[in-house]
């Protein structure tokens, strides 16, 4: 893998250390002379001294066709310009851009940089995900937020509990990819029975998480009250105790 590391100081040194071990070609470009000296001496690697947003610098450092281009400069717009230059003129396959202003994350993504990282933004996301654990549903994003994977723990008072997938009829906008029933993982089909304490891995599009969450967490009693007769008539009601969602129940941790 060809990795270009542009700018940065300690973080650049750390990443150089990570990638220089394996079968990688690492190119380091840094505008700061003391950092160039330090990384060069400690990591025993050629470091190109120059500004990574300049075309001639990237040319001289031979930054063509990088698999990953990482820009770690302290100023957001410098990172933006470096990544756009690497993408447009140097055929970089994937650019990673560090920003200090969290508002720039979505903006830079819209302008064409695949991965934009900001420490406060990441911190906020982690807090958000931790808060979701409380709600028994954890969300994971894949492919740049294009796919959402929900991890939902089934409680005994849920409507989906003790039914087969065929009976539950999950809505079209989501799909149950796997059922984790300690210690095994089931790849479900229509006959798979969902039991209490199962963890469902559900795939959906971004924006549908809330709908999926409320579908899974719908308590069983709701259905009993709305379509009382049919439910009582066709399938035996399980624990039709009007229990509310118990958000305090411990979530299963990975």
């Amino acid at each position: 893998m060809k990795v270009v590391i542009a700018g940065g100081s300690n973080e650049a040194e750390f990443i150089v250390g990570m990638f220089s071990k394996g079968n990688n070609e690492v190119i380091v470009i840094n505008p700061n002379a003391p950092v160039v000296d330090r990384i060069g001496k400690r990591k025993k690697i050629a470091v190109y001294h120059g500004e990574p947003w300049r075309k001639y610098c990237l040319e001289e450092a031979n930054a063509f066709d990088a698999d990953v281009f990482v820009s770690l400069c302290p100023i957001d717009t410098d990172n933006y310009a470096s990544c756009i230059m690497a993408k447009t003129c140097f055929n970089a396959k994937k650019c990673i851009c560090l920003v200090s202003d969290p508002l720039n994350v979505d903006l830079y993504k819209k302008l064409g940089i695949e991965t934009v990282i900001s420490s406060p933004y990441t911190l906020g996301k982690i807090i958000e995900e931790a808060a979701n654990v409380e709600n028994i549903v954890r969300t994971i994003s894949l492919e740049n937020d294009q796919i959402k994977v929900l991890e939902a723990l089934v409680l005994s008072n849920y409507n989906v509990c003790n039914k087969t997938l065929r009976e539950i009829r999950f809505p079209k906008y989501c799909s149950v990819a796997a059922v984790f029933r300690s210690p095994t993982v089931l790849i479900p089909n229509g006959d798979t029975m969902i039991e209490a304490k199962d963890t469902l891995l559900i795939i959906c599009a971004p924006g549908d998480e809330e709908k999926v969450r409320s579908f899974v967490q719908k308590p069983a009693d709701k259905k009993v009250t709305t379509v009382k007769k049919s439910v009582r008539g066709t399938s035996k009601p399980k624990k039709a105790v009007p229990a509310k969602e118990t958000k305090t129940t411990k979530a299963k941790k990975k």
Binding site: W53, R54, K55, Y56, I75, D76, T77, D78, Y80, A81, I84, M85, T88, C89, D101, L103, N104, L107, K110, L111
Partner: protein, 141 residues
């Protein structure tokens, strides 16, 4: 309605452009974080001068960038200029974006967009060639 002219960066070039556009009757908004930059504006200027860093997108929105009919970017930082040009053209759909670059290679990154780039380097070189060839007169134009 798109009726505003934004001038980002109020140095000698930005100030002169703001004065000229204002004198032509445009509604001009000048953005520069430097509090002393008003020295570059003359009495013909009748628009708004706002002091903040133009990389602050919320500030630009408050200033009304969605209503810009043209944006002229003249700050001294090429990378900031590049970002602002892309931002105005692709996110806010400003129909005319003019941007100054010291580094002529930056033009490669603005192709196919509604962005027109100006390179003082290139202009000086062309002018020198004209003067050398005796086609143009020296001195003030």
């Amino acid at each position: 309605m798109r009726n505003l002219t934004f001038v980002i960066g109020c140095g000698r070039l930005g100030g002169a452009i703001a004065n000229y556009s204002s004198a032509q009757g445009d509604s001009v908004i000048v953005i520069d974080p430097n509090p002393n930059c008003s020295d570059n504006l003359t009495e013909v200027f009748s628009g708004n001068l706002l002091h903040f860093d133009a990389s602050d997108v919320e500030g630009l929105e408050e200033a009304g960038i969605e209503n810009a009919k043209e944006v002229i970017i003249t700050s001294g930082d090429d990378n900031l200029n590049l970002f602002l040009a892309h931002l105005c053209s692709r996110i806010y759909d400003v129909p005319y974006v003019y941007v100054r670059f010291d580094d002529p290679d930056k033009g490669l990154l603005c192709q196919g967009a509604s962005i027109k780039a100006i390179y003082p380097f290139q202009l000086s070189k062309d002018r020198l060639n004209l003067l050398r060839a005796g086609v143009a007169e020296g001195g003030e134009e």
